[in-house]
């Protein structure tokens, strides 16, 4: 188990290093010089040069990569070109919205998908199965921003239970903050839940056909006991994979929903920064997202090993 852990950590660090290099190179080849963008079309060449020097853009590329990397390791993400504030602060504010939103949506997705998937699998071909499958079809087909608009129409405009957008802020209390994240979280969660339900169902159906399920019934377990005790854990590998992918998607891809609900999250930040050629912010946020995704993958790997003992020894 320890060897498995060490292996995963080494691969995690390697992934991060490679990713940072790719992010840096990609941003470098993006057309548009931040200095000339900031100074406008009519700037004098020497003014641009001066700003470039000030921003550190005149250094060699490897040197800039190294200083960017070492800066990040020390928690210094540099200064935003546009806002002249430390990137770390900007990101931190946004993260306090995006991270809870993602977790909220993921939790909703899991809470919907597990019971629905188990129900559908255990009543295969029955009415509940058909109904669940119908809903998941709908959930996958309908885009989440449209869901979002419907939710706003119903719960904010018609019923007035929630506000139509914006973020109350954590200083107004956890309840208020979570309340303003609820509609966005539901909008994000529903399509994810639909996918996860289908994965859960098919993974369970695969396991239910396994020989050991027959052994479980033959030792006297009822169908329900056999499903919960023997099938569920075996079905977790594909489900965990999808949960990992979904969390990565939620944390990095909530941009449309954040726009619909006027939430100042990471997605919006990255969108604005690209438009403003605020490369240092883009680099840092992308790197942060990469870090988050790699961390999630790492956690999913650990969860695999927890679920399936064979993986703990797979690399012997």
């Amino acid at each position: 188990m320890l060897r498995y852990l060490v292996r995963r950590v080494v691969s995690l660090l390697a992934t991060l290093l490679v990713a940072s290099l790719i992010v840096f190179v990609v941003i470098e080849v993006v057309p548009g010089d931040p200095a000339s963008y900031m100074l406008g079309m009519n700037a004098q060449p020497d003014t641009v040069a001066a700003l470039r020097a000030e921003l550190g853009l005149d250094q060699s590329k490897p040197a800039r990569y190294i200083s960017w990397l070492t800066g990040m390791l020390q928690g210094d993400f540099g200064q935003s070109y546009t806002y002249k504030t430390p990137v770390a602060d900007m990101v931190q504010d946004r993260l306090w919205i995006s991270l809870p939103l993602s977790l909220y949506a993921l939790a909703l997705s899991v809470f919907i998908a597990f019971p629905a998937g188990i129900l559908a699998a255990s009543r295969r071909g029955g009415v509940s199965d058909t109904a669940v499958m119908g809903f998941t079809q709908l959930g996958i087909a309908v885009p989440n921003f449209w869901f979002a608009l419907l939710l706003v129409l119903l719960f904010a405009v018609k019923l007035g239970w929630f506000s139509a957008g914006g973020f109350a802020g954590w200083e107004s209390g956890v309840f208020q903050a979570m309340k303003s994240l609820t509609l966005p979280a539901i909008a994000l969660a529903l399509p994810q839940a639909a996918i996860l339900t289908r994965v859960m169902r098919s993974a369970l159906l695969d396991v239910l056909g396994e020989d050991f399920m027959r052994t479980a019934r033959a030792k006297g377990l009822s169908a329900r006991q056999a499903l919960l005790r023997h099938a569920l854990r075996n079905a977790m590998i594909p489900v965990l994979t999808i949960i990992g992918l979904q969390f990565s998607f939620l944390i990095a891809g909530a941009i449309i929903i954040e726009n619909v609900f006027f939430l100042p999250g990471l997605g919006r930040l990255i969108f604005q920064s690209i438009a403003q050629r605020d490369l240092i912010v883009v680099e840092s946020v992308v790197m942060l997202l990469v870090f988050a995704v790699v961390m999630v993958t790492f956690l999913v790997d650990l969860a695999y090993a927890w679920v399936d003992p064979r993986l703990r020894h797979a690399h012997r």
Partner: protein, 566 residues
Amino acid sequence: MSVDQFPSAESDHPGELSSVVSSNTGDAPAQCLLKLERVGLTIHGTPILNDIGFTLESGKTLGIIGESGSGKSMTALSIMQLLPRGSKLSGRIQFANQQLQQLPEQMLCDIRGGDIGMIFQEPMSALNPVKTIGDQVSESIQLHRQVSRYEAVTLTAKTLERVGLPNKAFPLSRYPHELSGGQRQRVVIAIAVACQPKLLIADEPTTALDVTTQAGILELLKSLQHDEDLALMLITHDLAVVSNMADDVVVMNQGSIVEQGDLGAVFHRPSHSYTRRLFDASVLTQLTRDTRAMRIDSSAKPLLQVEQLVCEYPIKRTSLLGPARSFRAVDDVSFDIYHGESVGLVGESGCGKSTLTRALLGLMKLHSGSILLNSESVSAKQEVSRAARRQMQVVFQDPYGSFNPRHKVGRLVSEPLFVLAQQPDASEARQRVHDALASVGMNSADTDKFIHEFSGGQRQRIAIARALITEPSLIILDEAVSALDVSVRAQVLRLLDTLANDKGLAYLFISHDLSVVQRVSDRVMVMRHGKIVERGQTQSVFTDPQHDYTQQLIAAAPQLKVQERN
């Protein structure tokens, strides 16, 4: 498949429940434990079982014999009341004075694993891979006994000891993947007998195991039955196993019982023609061996020469900086095969047979040594030439998995033609396919069918046709008849004989089944741990084995004991 795939059979007479649930007090000591009367089964309207009836007493073993599809396993699942969806059961299944079809699901759960234990064919997949063996055995105990967790663990340890898995070597915290097939089957048996059932149903318990492992498991079943006065219902296709184990025998064919009775009576004087056919197919007589042995000219150049062949697989390093390690699957193996000769290669799983096959076929790199086919070298770090591939074809074990299900038979059979130096045109290719199919007894109309339209035996014939189409001199038969029923196996073996005689083919016949190897080969080699431990003329190896391991193998192979009818 779904959870309610195993619904309880619907009860027709729920009112009779109280009368059928009575303990068997000593008033009828000769009362049989299990009694099936006129049991019929349909699944989605398709008849599966017709009018099945037999009885089984405590302390007795009932052998149920039949080929695949004969309804043996469905009979077992009917008793367990674990039938697939869409099943309709009729007749009476009486167990310990209770009529099982009338019991509610809750009581059936108590009986399953409590009074009736069941063992399955596939030990590799019959255990939950994510739970420890201790958990899986103690789950059964905790379900059926009112015991504390601690007591359950103690009982589990005892049960595992009882089935031959001492706790020192096999602690409860082991996972199934850390055990071999035979050991896993012992765990499955432990689950089945943990609650001291009255009836043990074993459905092909040793079919997937090596002969020496099989002998151990059969021994264990015998001793458990003896010690605990169990009734054992042993389902198998292997007449030899039954002849060594059973008191009474039931022979099934196509969902019906064709013959039943005392083992001696049925085996000495089988009255039904199907039973006789089954016996004839099981007893593999040496048909054309002597005539063929003479034909082989060992002064000529060998067709295949394998010299000091070594194949290795890399193993993961133990530490990051540790030395690269490898596992030697084939270790210094040398042998020759002459034109028209049939050479058998025997060994148990993991002995290196499959690696050797892969190496011969040029599917893996040789570590060292050489392979010469018709004096053309096929050696390490070298692609196998097309000419060499044409000379050597293969038939694999699994008649279901070794074909692409989306191609028609014509395309499947013609596929190896690409190795020919001169590509035949379309009409010639078609002609060749027809000829190849005809030579294995298939019809030219079969070319437009898909592989799922054929039975296992027909598929194996098609596989042989596929091998024949390049007109090879050597066919490697890798467990080619192991998945077939005895009667089909006999047919395929006869076909192989005919082909060898007609076309002068040489065979390398790889199998774990000694009786088959004995039947088909002129010479035999015994492989163990990557080495060939014994070789010689088939007759002398089987009658006078020199190596300990060969002796063990032959001793472990069950012999069909009673065969004295006239």
